[in-house]
């Protein structure tokens, strides 16, 4: 009984640690600028959330909304295409025998160890040579590539797609691509969700690439946009409220999505870690 109380206390304290900043962000986003500095930071005062939201969404012709849209395209778009390409490549590496297979896999595995930020500068140099920096594609295209996704896809394909099933499909006259789409991809679906989530967070957290690549704020993802607002807070105090409300607005959908998809994190991480 005493052990139970001690355990619950520890977890309670940790819950406070992990959730207080989020709670604070939510409360702050509901306050007017005057209320933010003069009222208790962890409890509501003048409830101005609607007004704050309107201000964020309309500030400078709704640039924030555009940033949100950009972020969806950069992260969800790149992760969706990236997952598909990684699944195809991982499936082929797991299920076909061909010359150079191990070589390709090892090169991709080496790619896992190369951190994304180490690539940002050389990518910038290459894109500037091609005159393509400060474009949507300069951030989008590099984000599509996920060596870790290929690594996971190969593990999952080997574990969840039986060879007999592929052979049976061949005997029934299905082509290779058709077999992949109708049988393998379906069996790999839970794993594909995990790969998607991994890549989604990787792109979402990659700050150096958009920072170095983009100059036009109409192309910014929401993280870079909030960052630039935050650097100007001292000159334009109005921006402080916008940063907080904007942060809340961009975090809430993600928190909900992550919590709903949480079992895919666990399953995927379990498989990845056991290997």
């Amino acid at each position: 009984m005493r052990a139970r109380i001690a355990a619950m206390t520890v977890l309670g304290v940790c819950t406070v640690y992990f959730l207080t900043p989020i709670w604070w962000l939510f409360v702050s986003a509901t306050k007017t600028r005057a209320g933010f500095t003069s009222t208790s930071p962890l409890w509501f005062a003048d409830f101005a959330l609607i007004g704050n939201l309107r201000e964020v969404l309309t500030y400078r012709d709704g640039i924030f909304l555009r940033w949100l849209g950009n972020s969806v395209l950069y992260t969800a778009g790149a992760a969706l295409i990236g997952t598909l390409l990684a699944a195809m490549c991982g499936y082929a590496l797991a299920k076909y025998r061909f010359r150079g297979r191990e070589l390709i896999f090892n090169v991709v595995l080496g790619g896992v160890l190369v951190p994304a930020t180490a690539l940002a500068l050389p990518l910038f140099l290459i894109f500037s040579r091609a005159g393509a920096t400060n474009t949507f594609w300069s951030v989008f295209l590099p984000s599509v590539v996920s060596p870790f996704g290929v690594y996971l896809a190969r593990i999952y394909a080997a574990a969840s797609v039986p060879d007999d099933l592929i052979e049976a499909a061949r005997i029934d006259g299905a082509g290779e691509v058709r077999t992949f789409v109708t049988i393998a991809a379906r069996l790999m679906t839970p794993a594909l969700v995990t790969i998607f989530l991994f890549q989604f967070t990787a792109v979402w957290n990659n700050f150096l690439l958009p920072l170095i690549m983009l100059g036009d704020e109409r192309l910014f993802p929401v993280t870079l946009g909030l960052y630039t607002w935050n650097t100007q807070v001292n000159q334009v105090p109005q921006l402080r409220g916008l940063v907080l409300t904007g942060a809340l607005l961009s975090v809430v959908p993600l928190v909900i999505a992550f919590l709903l998809l949480q079992r895919f994190w666990r399953n995927g991480l379990g498989t990845g870690a056991v290997k």
Binding site: A3, F36, L42, I126
Partner: protein, 288 residues
Amino acid sequence: MTRHRSAVVFFIAPFGVLFTLFYLLPIGYAVVQSLFTVERTGTFGPAREVFGGLVQYQRVLSDGPFWASVGRVLLFGAVQIPVMLVLALFLALLLDSGLVRGRRFFRLAFFVPYAVPGVIAAIMWGFLYSPTLSPFTPVTGAVDLLSADLVLWAMANVVTWVYAGYNMLIIYSALLAIPPEIYEAARIDGAGPARIAWSVKIPLVRPAIVLTAVFSVIGTLQLLAEPQVFRSFSSAVSSTYTPNLTVYSTSSIPNFNLAAAFSVVLALVTCVLSFSVLKATSRGGMGR
């Protein structure tokens, strides 16, 4: 024997092409760029790139601020990674111990910060640390968490806050995968819950712990968003505070050749370090 050659090409080529263009090519290009140097005839003469051999690497080696920043992130990692992983492991074991009600709630609560991107987490904590705006003014008024002495650990707290729950989840899923019969045997031998956790559970989830350690090492050396954001909250964070900040500020001078050399060295240091963590933790050393 290669049957289905065209299918293999069809499956591999799309990823292969993009991987070559946006992974292999940049690495090669960074190495090539790092071997060149910009020369000017006179002070205002036209700049041209000439082959300089390892000149840039000599500069990297003798660049005091860069190595100071490497030392800083190593110190950061040496403290922050163990603290975070011990916390993650401890919480995972508690959740798995059977002592706790509402496991699902706690699991979700600890995981929530992971959904907050690094930049936004750093902005939030920047406000929370600030002496005037913070809800914890008794603390932030007494100790300046953004001073030169403490700002590194203030950032360590941000990173711990974001990633502890994520690492806990990795370890927790590994714990769930252990068949319960194993505990049965230990219990019959008279082992209590603490003993089972220490001698049975921890050794069995070791691969998961190694995985989290390697990810953490790679993440630490890449530290960028937190210090970059903290520059607007604290004057103690210089433009060369971490290796990645050095790369960024060198490239905006601009000195691309030197920045490329920094990138190459940083990538090598990262590879070597994460690889040695992998070696050190997965092969003996700690008893098993």
